[in-house]
């Protein structure tokens, strides 16, 4: 029930942002449409046992911003390195504490950072198969696996303990 209220509030805010005006009419209209949308397309239930830890969120967001810039530059450099064909790898990363939410957040964060692409997800075992660009050898692949686990660790510290 609480999750649906949050979803309705979020949809209402998006509606008002789309109109670009904050009047009672857009507020009520947005709320009505949010309720209809949620009734027609109900969201799957997400089990979220943890809370939101501000310090952890800050640490995650800061590290994410750094990763984003660093790997954007790396991919851009690869693009302009003529005569060099980048090698890549598909790496299996078994998450330490798999849950639907943890799996989704980790995969989203991974996919937003250049150089890594989630090719396949094993939901029952909690394994992400990540295609990584610019991996020269097996040692680099291992380092990458550890960095994904660190990312999961930061996410757990930010958004509570996944069930």
């Amino acid at each position: 029930m609480r999750a649906r209220a949050v979803a309705a509030a979020g949809l209402t805010v998006i509606w008002m942002l789309l109109w670009g005006s904050f009047t009672p009419l857009t507020l009520v209209g947005g709320a009505v449409i949010a309720v209809i949308v949620l009734a027609v397309f109900p969201l799957p239930v997400v089990t979220h046992t943890g809370g939101v830890h501000p310090l952890g969120v800050l640490r995650f967001a800061g590290r994410f911003a750094v990763d984003l810039v660093v790997s954007s530059v790396q991919v851009a450099v690869l693009a302009f390195r003529f005569g060099h064909i980048p090698r890549s790898a598909i790496i299996a990363v078994p998450l330490r504490a798999p849950s639907d939410l943890g799996l989704t957040l980790t995969a989203e964060a991974l996919s937003l950072v250049p150089g890594s692409l989630v090719v396949e997800v094993d939901r029952s075992l909690g394994v992400l198969y990540v295609h990584v660009l610019g991996v020269p050898d097996a040692a680099a692949a291992d380092r990458y696996r550890r960095s994904v686990l660190d990312l999961e660790d930061r996410l757990i510290r930010a958004f509570g303990r996944p069930a």
Partner: protein, 134 residues
């Protein structure tokens, strides 16, 4: 003050445009579909972020900034899903160049693509995959 904001906006717009250019070059140069997906979906995340910041600094209207914020939120929510769907389909269709892979732990695990197809309601993709591989 305005001049400083304009200068920052200029830098953001140029950097964002350069990142988009690098994405275009990478799209042409990278060897296989999965590598190209990195270029096609990712530099635009930071590139778009920079362009949006540049626009926000130039427009300086709350209404415009909230709209830009929506663009960013939807982009960041949908880009990974699109990249994943194309990447997954590409791998299953055998569009991935194995000679460029240092390691393929998905194939070594032996389970994921084919087993995934069997466990989900098969949509006819299995036949085309085995045909392509064989």
């Amino acid at each position: 003050m305005t001049a400083a904001l304009d200068a920052v906006a200029w830098a953001c717009l140029v950097a964002g445009a350069l990142l988009s250019l690098s994405a275009g070059v990478a799209l042409l140069r990278f060897p296989d579909l999965l590598s190209r997906m990195h270029a096609a979906t990712k530099p635009q995340v930071l590139g778009l972020l920079l362009v949006l910041i540049g626009c926000a600094l130039r427009l300086r209207e709350l209404v415009d900034i909230t709209t830009l914020l929506l663009v960013l939120v939807f982009q960041m929510a949908t880009a990974p899903v699109a990249a994943h769907m194309v990447g997954r389909a590409a791998y299953r269709a055998g569009q991935c160049r194995n000679d460029l892979l240092v390691t393929d732990e998905l194939r070594r695990s032996g389970s994921a693509p084919v087993a995934g197809l069997r466990s989900s309601q098969s949509d006819g993709a299995g036949a085309s995959e085995t045909g392509r591989r064989g």
